[in-house]
Amino acid sequence: MSTTPRRLRAAGKWLLSLPAVLFLAGNVNAGEAFPLGTKQDPKDILLELNEKVDSDYLDAPQKILSMPNNPAYWDAEDGKELFNQKRGPKNASLANCDFGQGPGKLKGAYAKMPRYFEDTGRVMNPERRLVYCMKTLQGFSEDSKAVQNRGELKQMLTYIASQSNGYEWAPSMNHPMEKAMRDAGEAMFYRRAGKLDQNCATCHYEPGTNVRASAMPSVKIPEEWTKAVSWPAFRLGKRDIRSPYQRMRGCYYQMRKGLLQPRTDAAVAMQTFWLDAARGQPAILPDLKR
């Protein structure tokens, strides 16, 4: 697959998303599990989680049976190619980017983030670190086309994430700054504001609640919550991969609050809290969601 031209893969991705979408009409195509970064088959992860907890959120059959047809794997392939391509003013690849486990070491790195990085003095999530590496290793500026191309950033993020599939969520809590960000994220989670007085807990606290037809995952049930925080994911409804940031932005939007901006401390704090709440549970990366 890695030798397929990217444009062909884009067409293939569109076609591949069809069986997943059409599954509800009973037309499921039993494909093979994708080996890109597999530590454990996402289908098996979900089946095991389902045995541990009684959850409407996990239990929707299309979520499990269409996992092998997850179109996000094609994005991960594209992302891998971009990641390893020599690009930018410095004509360098990102192969030596350090996501916390040492330069070029991606296995399990995504599941151990966000984390504090000495070289920047900041707690960074994978997206922030990725752009940092594009700037330092490749010489791209903030307003360069490469950094502004959110589609490509998401594809690279999907590739990096895929290398942590099946790893337990274990955001680093060794540095005081990591703890401070986690705690601030928790305060944000419970902070009511906006036209509707809502906080994240309005929808994501009591187990087994629905918003309209959608089953909501609860922050109190780690086995359920791990799927909720497993991003990037292919959204069937959007027919595209979506990043962790887009999930947060969407929730704040629906709560009728302001626009959260990517790669900010607020976004990192929230991500630190929500991944800490899934600690010890297997990551599903990339995920497939409705």
Binding site: G121, R122, M188, R191, G208, A213, Y253, L259, Q261, D265
Partner: protein, 246 residues
């Protein structure tokens, strides 16, 4: 967002103190805004984050390192900027500190008192409107969104969002939410006495009068629905002809 570096711990601490100690809030929902807080732009070096309480750090990140707080909100959504959406009034602040738990009695009393003071009953008393209008409102979840896709109230009126959280009619259960209590047969159980009318009106206008720190939005107190619309929703709940009571 400019990350101006402030050198010197003293200056930074002074800045942090200043951020949370000075008064003044922008217009909009002014009567309920908590006192003694401003959201002026300040730069606090990251090395100071560990010195701050989690609530203060969250507050700082929201207004200075995260949200686009200077986005203008259309007049028909209440005007102002998104900073006004992110600021807390006293009820929001008190209920946020519970971390999902039920309120203690002093918080409950305080919140209930603020809520009761906010309720304005219609002149001439509470009356039921048109249940069909109420049904349409209850099922409509449009409105009040800003950020990256602003709802245009000139093109479409905002709805009541009710079905997001409540079941009103049994045959619509599959597409109704369950964050709030089920309301099938609401009127059959309660009748249409004065007590029921006022209770139901209060619940929609400001639910904290009945359930302090509950999760139902304050549709009257926050200007999400007019008194007439509340009357229509009440008809949907209480009118014997309404499908809620069939």
């Amino acid at each position: 967002m400019g990350y101006r570096t402030v050198t010197g711990t003293g200056i930074a601490l002074l800045a942090a103190g200043f951020l949370f100690a000075t008064g003044g809030c922008a217009a909009g929902e002014s009567s309920d805004m908590k006192a003694g807080e401003s959201h002026m732009k300040k730069d606090i070096p990251r090395s100071q984050y560990t010195e701050m309480s989690s609530e203060k750090l969250a507050e700082y990140l929201i207004f200075n390192r995260g949200f686009k707080v200077d986005q203008e909100i259309p007049e028909n959504q209440g005007g102002g900027t998104t900073a006004d959406r992110m600021k807390q009034d006293r009820i929001q602040e008190a209920c946020s500190q519970l971390n999902g738990q039920a309120p203690d009695s002093s918080t409950a009393q305080k919140v209930q008192k603020i809520a009761k003071n906010s309720v304005q009953y219609p002149e001439g008393g509470v009356e039921l409107g048109d249940w069909k209008e109420g049904q349409a409102l209850a099922e409509d979840a449009y409105g009040w969104r800003v950020a990256h896709k602003v709802d245009d109230h000139n093109k479409r009126d905002p709805g009541g969002l009710c079905m997001n959280c409540h079941v009103f009619e049994s045959d619509k259960k599959g597409r109704s939410g369950s964050i709030g209590v089920g309301l099938v047969g609401y009127g059959n159980k309660r009748g249409q006495g004065e007590e029921t009318l006022r209770y139901t009106y209060r619940q929609i206008y400001n639910s904290h009068t009945n359930y302090p720190c509950g999760h139902m939005p304050r549709f009257g107190a926050k200007g999400l629905l007019t008194q007439e619309q509340i009357g229509d929703l009440m008809a949907y709940l209480l009118d014997p002809e309404s499908p809620v009571n069939q």
